[in-house]
Amino acid sequence: MTDVRSEAGQDVEEDYVEENDASVPDVPRWLPITAFALSLIGFGISMYLTIDHFQGIVPICSSKGFVNCALVTTSKYSHILGIPVALLGLLFFTAMVGINWPALWRARSPWVARGRLALAVSGVWFVLYLLAAELFSIKAICLWCTGVHITTFLLFVLIMSSFPLMSGRAARSGEWDEELEEA
């Protein structure tokens, strides 16, 4: 990794650096692979739930007691503004698969990391809404949905924790912190 300022021989306007940081943020190698794998898992589950939804099939799952996929996937919470939640999930994970493509983790544009972060944050908030609906309104959970929720949360953790490394500003902040610790 190189430092754009040392190459330039002079300090560079911070905003410029932030938008044009030539350095490639380093994240552990396992992180992009894990994020991509989680995205694929979420995509697969969402695809299954979407197909079931449009075919009118109840997912393979318990239909009695607290674990009741039929109750969850046919409740009024299974649609948002007329759009099936399963389809929203599929669209979400389609975007996640795209933006978590391993090569994109090396993208230099900060907007890739920002887009990834925005997706992760919106996804996890939606998961919280659906979790609340399951626990307190529907009073049942769907294991397939829970799988999607866990996948979304893990992606959120990965993306959130890696975001400082992925943004130039955050990276510099990290340098500063590290230096201070050394001092």
Binding site: V58, H79, F153, F163, P164, G174, E175, D177, E178, L180
Partner: protein
Amino acid sequence: MSQVQPGDRGSGRGPDPQAGKASPAKRPPAKAAPKGRTPATTSKGATTSKGRPPGGGGGKGRPPTTGGAKGRAPRQNMKITAPPPRRFSPSTLAFVSIGVVVVIVLVFVVVKVAGSGSTPSKTRVIPSPTPASASVVAAVTGVPQSVADAVGTGQGINAPQVLNNQPKLTSAGGKPEMLYIGGEFCPYCGAERWSMVLALSRFGTWSGLTDPATATFSFRTASVSSSYIDFVPVEHETNDNYGEGTRALFQPLTNAQNALWSKYSAHFGQTTGYPFVDIGNRLFVVGPSYDPGVLQGLDQAQIASKLTNPKDPVTEAVVGTANYLIAGICAETGNQPATVCTAPGTRTAATALKLS
């Protein structure tokens, strides 16, 4: 006390093993304090136990400088320069965000567990059907044709939707099919059922109508024996006590039924809702035909007793809707039976729907 200058950082990628590549010694001298910032040097509180300045984050992650050679000052002489007031570093924000989500999930779980522990869980009660009153059924199915003719298309009714050139919806026996999808809890379905009972009674004989303990019928066990049309009722949800959106599925939809429900609801700009009636893929009821408030405060016997008065709002709504349904069925049965399909009330509705 040593002083740390903003440019006097290591490679600063945290655990990055590449961190040491960019040696501070190679760096050019730092400029004075970053633009617009006033360095604030402190000798106390500049470092925390972790060596961090108070605050953190903000200032685009860079502490201000007090000037001096970047990377040249011996560490033992370094002096920590307090940054300008900062909020949180991105790292802190990231982990706080993750923590917030975890806490919210834990709160959900704790509240759920505590709630279910302190109060006995609600037992789902699905009311058992009781046979509908014979006199009520007789009153509805026996509405005089003269009343139906007088009502015509009634008042305040949302006419069904007509769609031509669709694949015919027929039953296995080849007869036109009339599919109904509703929920026992659904008041709009309850209102629609009155009209459906009347309409279908013109084409066959009802059996199995039940009383769902509200002022309507249930099609849970109902059927119509008809040589003209096959009626396929699906009470998709019960009227159990679990509340809206959470009721138990009672009669599941087949894939084909679900596809029809989705396709034609969407075609008419609606979400899949109750009631849904599809007569031969030509005439559709997507949503309520009339305001169920018309029936409010009336029991089944009272509603039935009003159906002989063509001026009564209840009759206008129930019979007017029934005439539309009858006209739709007639369009699929080739206007059979003729006595029903050529009745003035039916013709009025058929004309309004442009079915003739």
